[in-house]
């Protein structure tokens, strides 16, 4: 966060417009691995007492003290009985969403800046559901955390937890918890998952959950390697300085006396011979086992990774190369008598092309509800510096203790959107969860598929695009979906009779019309439909927009961008006389279905000359 907020236009301190009074009254519930309460990011200095609406408690267990910033703590894990963060992850996400602004933060001098949350004046309530190792994050604990967070009256829930794929709602604890949160006006922001770039890998699939993909920012950590014949650039967060000294290079394959070539080239555990690697730089064809070379006395390692677009922390000097660069290096080694190289200390560069959706970020289409686009939005998730727990090593077999560390994943992009949602809510305290979600989606920066080889999934990779906190304050129009709209949506999915009656809590029953309604007609800010491959199709989306622009009337005209689909919007002009006025329209899309496993997309933009309300329209053919 020392650079991600500025990257997306949310400037530091007084340079960003804020509603401090309401921001200070905002409470973000973070369901994660707890926090390190002594972190400066959670200091209560300068904060008044908790907001009056707060119904929670500080039950963080032994040796856990709350304050007026960290106003609540509960844990649902066993031994130790504490909400203290034993993984670093919860401290990182909580400080990204709502951490204090802490100046001069860096990771051993790298990535220096002010670590801050999206809403530094807001309060944090901690719900610890994860412990390291086999304990993991139990779903019975996660559901208990939702039960408490909703009743404690948090304004928003951030949860960077998920499974490997989607589940039916009635067996998905995050969907269940988020549904009841939505019913109480609480938006749940959830990470999309790190199983990308596989299609249909997104695990957060419910329309009442705001699902966040991850992208990079313009800042990157690079670790140069100086070869005998010139330089090359790798990725890592290497804070170890070998003073530019060149060391002999040996490939894992040539440094074994016990394993096959295939195992040795990967530097698999037990394969490297210390006599052959001591004092050298070891080349490994995989990023999986860097510590093996270190344990055998290597001074550094250069590894190959399919996804070398993200820098990670290692416990000794490592540089990660893409396949192409690694192979160049290998041919240098194989063609040179005494190959040598130097692995330099990392640097930060600020001209990386961004935002590009991360290869690891889970993709759609939505396996549970094919006609609801997931993920919804993209935010910075790669190489984020934020609070950490000094009780936890920053990387495998690392002896260092840090209060701020670099983490990567949709776990990091999720709290960025939670912070933006909370920021938005300080300007529009009465907006419902769907209005907040709509405002962020329809004002997102457009992203495109051409900027990275992994992007061929386009909107299934980045949803509506990259979050833009400032534009989201004034979206012009929003797509609202109330609890009853979601109940009708469930009717269309055959949640009838007992299930619906119990879930709704008000004895709802489905009308014949609702039972026949299509999921794609939920009033969602994006429009998605699965069609048959390579066959003609014609389908209609029904939508309603609410005018949220105060003051004078406005005339919105429809425009469709992206030519491959034939799109007809009726009516094409919406005249909005007053704020909160609603107008409905239809979007009829026709054409020939794309080939299997492909999508074709366009964007519907309602514009009044001031606001641009942009919604993706995605038509795809599953395999």
């Amino acid at each position: 966060t020392t650079s991600s907020w500025s990257f997306m236009g949310l400037k530091e301190g007084k340079r960003a417009r804020r509603n401090n009074l309401i921001e200070s009254d905002t409470i973000i519930g973070v369901i994660d691995s707890g926090v390190y309460p002594e972190s400066e990011s959670f200091s209560g200095k300068g904060f008044g007492p908790p907001p009056k609406k707060w119904k929670g408690v500080c039950e963080g267990g032994k040796n856990f003290t709350c304050n007026n910033k960290l106003i609540g703590a509960r844990y649902y894990t066993q031994y130790p009985d504490s909400a203290r963060d034993l993984m670093g992850h919860g401290s990182h996400t909580a400080s990204t969403a709502a951490g204090n602004a802490v100046k001069h933060v860096s990771f051993y001098g790298l990535g220096n800046g002010t670590a801050r949350g999206g809403v530094p004046a807001a309060r944090i309530a901690v719900y610890k559901v994860c412990n390291p190792g086999a304990s993991g994050c139990t779903t019975d604990g996660i559901l208990a955390a939702f039960d408490d967070a909703i009743a404690d009256k948090v304004d928003l829930i951030s949860i960077s937890i998920g499974g490997d794929n989607g589940s039916p709602f009635e067996a998905d604890p995050i969907a269940i918890g988020a549904f009841h949160a939505m019913g109480k006006g609480i938006l749940t922001v959830n990470s999309a998952g790190n199983s990308g770039p596989e299609p249909s890998s997104v695990a957060s699939v419910a329309p009442w959950i705001f699902t966040v993909a991850a992208s990079n920012t313009n800042r990157a950590f690079v670790t140069k390697i100086v070869l005998g014949n010139g330089k090359t650039i790798g990725r890592s967060v290497n804070t170890f300085d070998l003073n530019g000294t060149k060391y002999p290079i040996v490939h894992g394959k040539s440094a074994t006396s016990t394993c096959s070539d295939d195992a040795a080239r990967l530097c698999s555990p037990g394969c490297l011979d210390s006599k052959l690697v001591k004092g050298k730089i070891v080349l490994c064809d995989s990023v999986q086992n860097p510590e093996v070379a270190k344990d055998m006395g290597a001074v550094a390692s250069i590894v190959k990774s399919q996804y070398a677009e993200v820098a990670m922390i290692f416990s000794f000097p490592v540089s990660v190369l893409s396949e192409k660069k690694y192979n160049t290096l290998l041919s240098y080694v194989n063609s040179t008598k005494n190959p040598k190289a130097a692995v330099l200390r990392s640097e930060t560069i600020f001209n990386q092309r961004a935002p590009i959706v991360a290869s690891y970020s889970s993709r759609g289409p939505n396996t549970i509800i094919p006609d609801i686009l997931k993920p919804d939005i993209t935010a910075p998730g790669s190489e984020i510096i934020a609070a950490y727990s000094p009780d936890v090593p920053p990387s495998l077999s690392d002896t260092r203790h840090v209060k701020y560390s670099v983490e990567t994943g949709t776990s990091m992009s999720c709290p960025h959107v939670a912070g933006v949602a909370a920021y938005l809510k300080t300007f529009h305290p009465r907006w419902s969860p769907s209005m907040i979600q709509s405002a962020i989606m329809t004002t997102a920066w457009p992203m495109n598929a051409s900027t990275s080889p992994f992007n061929q999934m386009a909107e299934f990779a980045y949803g509506a695009g990259h979050v833009d906190p400032i534009a989201a304050i004034h979206p012009g129009l929003v797509y609202e979906a109330s609890k009853s709209d979601h109940i009708a949506f469930l009717c269309g999915l055959n949640y009838t009779g007992k299930k619906l009656r119990l879930i709704s809590g008000d004895g709802s029953i489905c009308t014949k019309e609702q039972t026949k309604s299509l999921p794609r007609n939920l009033n969602y800010p994006s429009m998605t439909a699965q069609v048959s491959a390579s066959k003609p199709f014609k389908l209609t989306f029904y939508r309603t927009v609410t005018n949220v622009r105060k003051g004078k009337a406005a005339t919105y005209k429809a425009k469709v961008v992206g030519s491959k689909l034939k799109v007809k919007v009726v009516p094409e002009v919406l005249f909005m006389k007053s704020v909160h006025e609603k107008k409905s329209f239809t979007v009829t899309v026709s054409g020939t279905g794309p080939e299997a496993d492909n999508l074709v997309s366009a964007h519907l933009i309602w514009s009044d000359g001031v606001h641009s309300v942009r919604s993706p329209i995605v038509v795809y053919a599953a395999n």
Binding site: D32, Y76, A144, I176, I503, S504
Partner: protein
Amino acid sequence: ADNEQDKQVYIVYMGALPARVDYMPMSHHASILQDVIGESSIEDRLVRTYKRSFNGFAARLTESEREILASMDEVVSVFPSKKLKLQ
């Protein structure tokens, strides 16, 4: 009789909390559980209750007990508690 290793933690989701002011979630959960397991003491079966914002509980159940619960009128779904991951 089902022995210990046949049991696993299941989540019993019962939907929204009934609006009735006299509704006592915990005694309702206890009576359901006692009916199903046929024992008065539910101590070592009940793992958690959900009673503040929605209705349900988590308990150690056998597969056959799970089936009985899932068919009950006041139960939406019964599914195993799993381990999810930080992302």
